[in-house]
Symmetry: C2
Subunit: 484 residues, 2 copies
């Protein structure tokens, strides 16, 4: 059986077409073994399988052959060991909010659904750490922490599972101040390709003891191991939070104000750009009356004095770039009202063209190139005749385009892919990356060689070393994966 899988993979890899769903080997034996081990946790129902292969893009749904609901790490370890024995692919599933086809099963196999592993295992308030199972979502975690004065800052928008956020190296609006998943994960428990359970890292804030397996697993999209426990850093909720917004004559002006804010080391907690089209969409969607120009939404965390000082410094900065109408407030209700447009951005965009799907892509550049990258991208979208508002975590040089695509129209998909391809190349040419926070999955594989060159050889050597049978989420990050 092992040979025929290799054959399938080779054909797949050579075809170079990741959406081709070739005849899979028969995993009947593996599934029978799983069924025997997990009589009440395994489903082969097509609807269930399709739900677990779903993607948020135009990529074809590629369902796994079976879905296992894992209850604990022993379940995961046992299931992976069986998959390894039969060389059957295995893909971990959090809540399904990944954006680049990370959960598709191009070679079939087993999907391990982690949603039931949602226990918050240990909070160490005195150390500002928490240990959770991977199915815990970020909102669940923050709800749980609500009386501790602590919070988990990483906010990728969706109510993602922590395990999924580890897998894609997620970040989001707070990253400019609190970092990304690579910065807030202290330790992991991981099931390896052979079904062994290992631990990476400790609860100490730092270590120089051996290779940083924690950071290697983060962002590896389930191709090197399946995470079964995560220890995270927490942060104190600031005594005072101030939120506000201001308008700019151009995207360049907004980006330049952002650049100076970062260069001045103002400890801003959030600084989000909405372009004029996105603001217009938000106005239409929620009957707002915001000025339809590029707008920055900001948030300041600190003591009351510090928040006031930050806001005043920020006001001085934006004045240099024609920023206007800066309003901000520390009152919770008022803060919420001010940021309403930002929170609605995705749905407001979707409403610009209700027959289309808003497809989110992202890129990240050194902040000095941000204005240029955003402007050129906006022009490219306009020239292509597409609708694509831009929203950015601009303090990190990271922004998203929400392309409104009729996914039943092959020509539109082609045009959208071309825009994404040019954006990836533009970002890489400017010293940046084809994705700041969404990952590679299936959707961005073609940009990997351009971004990483011969470093891909090292990545693939690591993949082969840790997963010699190529069972862990094969066909992600690179087409045929490393074990070919």
């Amino acid at each position: 059986m092992s040979e025929s899988i290799q054959d399938t993979r080779s054909t797949q890899a050579l075809s170079g077409d990741i959406s081709t769903y070739l005849a899979k080997p028969n995993y009947a034996e593996a599934i029978a073994a799983l069924k025997a081990k997990f009589p009440n946790q395994l489903s082969v129902n097509l609807t269930v399988r399709e739900q677990h292969g779903h993607t948020m893009t135009w990529l074809t749904n590629q369902p796994p052959d079976a879905v296992l609901t894992a209850r604990d790490k022993q379940d995961v370890a046992a299931a992976v060991a069986i998959c390894n024995q039969f060389s059957m692919p295995v893909i971990a599933f959090g809540i399904g909010s990944s954006l680049e086809g990370q959960l598709n099963a191009p070679f079939g196999g087993l999907c391990i659904d982690m949603h039931a592993m949602d226990t918050i295992l240990e909070v160490h308030r005195e150390d500002l750490t928490v240990t959770v199972e991977p199915g815990v979502t970020r909102e669940q975690l923050n709800h749980y922490l609500r009386d501790t004065g602590l919070f988990f800052p990483i906010d990728p928008g969706a109510n993602a599972s922590i395990g999924g956020m580890v897998a894609t190296r997620a970040s989001g609006t707070n990253a400019v101040r609190y970092g990304t998943m690579k910065d807030v994960v202290l330790a992991l428990e991981v099931v390896t390709a052979s079904g062994e359970i290992i631990r990476t890292g400790t609860r100490a804030k730092k270590s120089s003891a051996g290779y940083d397996l924690t950071r290697l697993m983060i962002g590896s999209e389930g191709t090197l191991g399946i995470v079964t426990e995560i220890t995270l850093k927490l942060f104190g909720i600031s005594e005072c939070i101030g939120s506000g917004l201001c308008h700019f004559p151009t995207v360049e002006a907004a980006c330049e104000a952002t650049m100076l804010t970062i260069q001045m080391c103002l400890p801003i907690a959030r600084i989000e750009l909405l372009d004029a089209l996105q603001v217009k969409a938000c106005n239409q969607y929620a009957n707002l009356t915001l000025k339809e120009t590029p707008t920055l939404f900001v948030e300041f965390h600190g003591s009351e004095a510090s928040v006031h000082e930050q806001a005043h410094t920020f006001a001085d900065i934006i004045a240099e770039f024609g920023g206007s109408d800066f309003v901000w407030d520390t009152d919770v209700a008022e803060r919420k009202r001010l940021w309403q447009a930002r929170h609605n951005a995705y749905h407001a965009s979707a409403a610009l063209r209700p027959t289309a799907k808003p497809l989110s892509t992202d890129a990240c550049v050194p902040i000095s190139r941000l204005a240029e990258c955003v402007s050129e991208t906006a022009k490219d979208i306009e020239d292509s005749g597409m609708i694509g508002p831009i929203v950015g975590h601009v303090g990190d040089g990271n922004f998203h385009v929400l392309l409104l695509v009729d996914t039943t129209d092959a020509q539109e998909i082609e045009a959208a892919e071309a825009i994404i391809g040019r954006l990836a190349q533009r970002a890489i040419d400017m010293g940046g990356t084809c994705t700041g926070e969404h990952g590679i999955g299936q959707g961005k594989q073609k940009y990997m060689p351009y971004e990483h060159g011969n470093a891909i050889g090292l990545m693939q050597a690591i993949k082969t070393a840790l997963d010699p049978n190529n069972i862990l989420n094969p066909g992600k990050i690179w087409p045929g994966s490393a074990a070919l």
Copy 2:
């Protein structure tokens, strides 16, 4: 030749004694090839070789067979390719300030001295990034940046090379606020074991594109590649800096005050503990009159208002734990005077027993266990009849013991090793690590299995995948290294 190396290594590994310097294979051919390629850059002089095999501990000096002064990345790539061809070990050398025998050559081979690769290649002020060659030292870099308003915060004490700091995942006094090398390196250029030059990462602040090779290389102690270029994050020098010190009745009280400071998310830039013995040593060394009790040295960075606010909050915190005599100042000269004792700590310790060598070891624990870990360690040192002042980057739960050891006395070395062993176990048992910032090298290999368990298998699989001939700094991190 390859076989005989393997044999030597096997014997070495089985012996488990890393200081045994067994008969090496004859690397004459490799060295002849290197001499032909680098006629004016290669030395086989014994004094030069011994200088490059030196260690800061009681570990035996194990010189390499030859020392190459590299001028550029092409030199490094060509030299590594020759070493790989002849399966000869190759060890990169920065300035020689590593503390765990990282630079020793237990299997001989080539040392590549990087000191001449000391060019600061590109400063991007607007992005707060700089790209340097590995031989640039941290003081050289900060001197170069002096007119930019920016600085590079990582301060491990020694004027280490940036390349060496990458290799050991260095940190130091500023890490509590600015992070460690893992946090401030954006991208690397690395020569792989085959002599290929790869790039990891970009100048973008974040990325989700593939495996985090940057973080994998950081802390790998030259066993996975040799770094030839480093892109670092820089930070703005604060408008205002306040420094101060205060005294505590006990080490526990000082640690508890530190814990609360961190828990309250005070953005303190430095918080350093000196135990009573260390303060006494500093008084004697520099004719100071500090109260000889556990003392915290602190530094606040920010706007003037923010620094004052931080200092006042800190004053309130320490009052809860019996902290007293808190003095602080923002004047440069006064700041320097206040911190003088901290800066002298190493030499002051040495002077406590001029016939001995101060050997620095470190450990790191979750901050809630810091007081306990420091107290138990101090008691252990006392019970052992040794002298060992304690200095700590306590905001990170990281501290050092400066054991004053007569390195000609085998019994003393044994006693010191026993203390270090118990400290490592204590730290790991408390959920921490056997080294927060010094690395494993040769000195701490025995604690790796206790800390990492079966995760070592993954580390070794990665080592074998990336360095199949086991030429990159063999005998470090684990005894026989992974390629056996």
